[in-house]
Point group: C2
Chain length 421, copies 2
């Protein structure tokens, strides 16, 4: 078994944490921002130092490739992203890139024989923080292979026209052209040139930590649905309108939210997660009763039958009135089926963890990742690294150097097993 270097991993974590340092232990590093370009330059510098060849495709995805012994063999790829959410942490995304670099550096330094070329990829704009949607550039690159209902959201022209949420009028296409990272379409990941894809990522949940396991052998990305629940009342003046005649859309939404938790929790569905994270209130003035309140409802589970039981409860909100006579509509935003990772690659990851003596377990991914789009193109899998307190997309996000290096070592050995195919 081969081992990656804790010292080299620690150096990378420290180095990349400076690019976009937001002053409280985390980073803000929007895709194509000056901070993200610093991270790309560091990636290129380190990869060229070990003899890897850099390519860039037409949407800015960067590929660093170490040649293998067989000039005819397809590439095995390890990929993630260097962009973050606003006030994100030092591990989400960038750990997958650092792990891919670490695998290539270990192969180079230890002179590990391998047949296939090994490629580390930076996907452009995974978070979609500045230019929505998330997973934009893996969506574009995998476009031809995606199911129609996903594909329709990633049309090249639409993506190029995506407007900055901070600077309306500035498009993703303009930012890409200005970045100097608009390369050659022929460099895109494709099944003709690529064999397998691995992605290492932080867990973003507390399951591994609670179980005392360092590494997660990911078997799938959970199916999910996303709805909006909209409540309609009447705006009246706070000081002058009698309580019995009010129709308060915020109260309506609050009643419905309590109802949803009561009814869904009573279904007793193990491992179900559901979230109501985004709200809109109108007119949102302290002297007016709200006439409109809207919240998102996101539910995730491996089993579509269980998701359907939840959806029945959600839809039942639309058949009732809330908050003394407010109506409710329940509108579908999108859904996706569970995406299972390639069984053979999942097996390689599990074997590698076992042989390395790293504590591990099977785990589902609740979050979406670029890997799920790649899985429509080539066999794909993921490796999770323990997250302290399960926190992610926030500045306290943390994984230890030991765990990060273990994740890279598991990926290295799984890749070497795949290299024998």
């Amino acid at each position: 078994m081969y081992q990656c270097s804790e010292a080299r991993m620690a150096d990378k974590i420290q180095t990349f944490s400076a690019f976009g340092d937001a002053g409280h232990g985390g980073i803000t590093r929007y895709s194509l921002s000056p901070e993200a370009l610093m991270a790309r330059k560091e990636f290129q510098r380190r990869m060229e130092a070990i003899g890897a060849v850099i390519e860039v495709d037409d949407v800015g995805d960067m590929y660093a490739t170490l040649p293998g012994s067989d000039p005819e063999a397809k590439r095995i790829v390890m990929a993630s992203h260097v962009d973050s959410v606003k006030n994100g942490g030092n591990y989400d995304g960038i750990l997958g890139v650092m792990s891919a670099m670490e695998v290539l550096e270990s192969v180079h330094e230890q002179n590990i024989p391998h047949k296939h070329p090994l490629t580390a990829i930076i996907w452009t704009n995974e978070e979609g923080s500045l230019y929505p949607p998330a997973m934009m550039c893996s969506g574009i690159v995998c476009y031809d292979y995606l199911p129609e209902d996903i594909r329709c959201k990633f049309r090249y022209e639409d993506m190029m026209a995506s407007q900055s949420i901070l600077n309306p009028g500035q498009t993703f296409g303009q930012a890409l052209a200005a970045s100097g990272y608009q390369g050659d379409r022929a460099c895109r990941l494709s099944p003709e040139k690529y064999l397998y894809m691995f992605e290492t990522h932080i867990e973003q949940g507390p399951i591994l930590e609670d179980a005392g396991n360092d590494i997660g052998v990911v078997d799938c990305v959970l199916g999910m649905f996303n709805y909006r629940l909209k409540f309609y009342g009447q705006t009246v003046h706070a000081g002058t309108f009698p309580m019995p005649k009010r129709r308060d859309a915020f109260l309506a939404a609050a009643e419905a939210l309590c109802y949803l938790h009561r009814e869904i929790d009573a279904l007793n569905i193990p491992e179900l997660v559901y979230t109501t994270g985004e709200v809109v209130c109108h007119p949102c003035v302290h002297t007016c009763v709200p006439d409109f309140f809207d919240f998102s409802f996101d539910a995730r589970h491996e089993d579509p039958a269980q998701l359907n039981r939840v959806l029945e409860v959600v839809k039942s909100c639309g058949e009732k009135t809330w908050g003394n006579g407010c109506t409710c509509t329940v509108e579908k935003a999108w859904n996706r089926d569970t995406v299972y990772w390639d069984k053979k690659l999942v097996g390689y990851v599990k074997q590698a963890a076992e042989e390395l003596g790293v504590s591990h377990q099977y785990i589902h991914s609740g979050a979406g990742h670029d890997a799920q789009f790649c899985s429509y193109v080539i066999p794909t899998t993921m490796i999770f690294v323990q997250s302290k307190d399960g926190l992610s997309h926030c500045e306290p996000e943390f994984s230890s150097v030991k765990h990060c290096t273990e994740g890279a070592s598991v990926m290295l050995n799984a890749v070497l097993k795949a290299d024998e195919d």
Copy 2:
């Protein structure tokens, strides 16, 4: 008894409704906007046509005065505002100005004898829609007479520096200077020059309509308190964090809102109103559990003892945890005691309504008005006109020409009674 003119009132309603017409039956007419300046010019044109003298004070308040028979007598004033909220209606504020104009026009046309000069006032920036706070310029003018806890919010320098909510960097002071309506401080309303103040306003509630009464004889502005309830949880990823460990600040707020309605309604306090109209959710992203949720709580009642019972319930929220372990803080924003109108003037309004044969009743004002600041300077009262369906601060706001004219006739005759003092 003297009567105002329905035809002239209808013409004014139609004319002023064009200044800021937002295309759906209502208006957006921010203070000092081009639309508001059109309304000021129309006011000036109509008032000068009947021989009234126009003055403007240093914060843009406009005064149109018809001289009385006694050159030594103080002025009796009728005042309201021409600015609106976004997508407001054709009656809130402007009806008080149109009624004041109608009284002066009736006095002129019918050659009604009066001892005191009669003045119609436009207060600048009552709504505070673009430049907070509300009631800004009556606050500045009445500053020296206000209780300290109110006064501290209306310092002249702070008001001049109030920034536009649509165009940060643009201050109220700059807009005032650019408007051409920055006049002479000596023109401000003062107890040396003014005797009484009347304000006619739409009810903004359904009490008169439900009771079948056209006119409200207002006896007070209700006491109120305004608090913020803030809930603190933990942001985690929607897809990856198990339900039992989540602390969801939105769920916490929803539970607390249902609790508040349950507990406060159980107090059975007649005529109490309370409103939770403004919310803040963080990070407000559909893939994140909210770690912060904040809502406003506004309660109004004549009796401070009843308000205290409500406040006890509100404060009890801070002693509990909500949404599986979120904490709650309860923070006072402001409060005010009930402001009673001058009993003699209230009596004049009631007598005038009785003698005119207009159906009427006593009523409280739940909303705040410029009149409440004036009441600290000179004896003051208000007259309410029936509002269709109780709606206000919205485009469907409506009061009939008959009711508007009745309101003006009641004010005319009440002013003439006051003129005899």
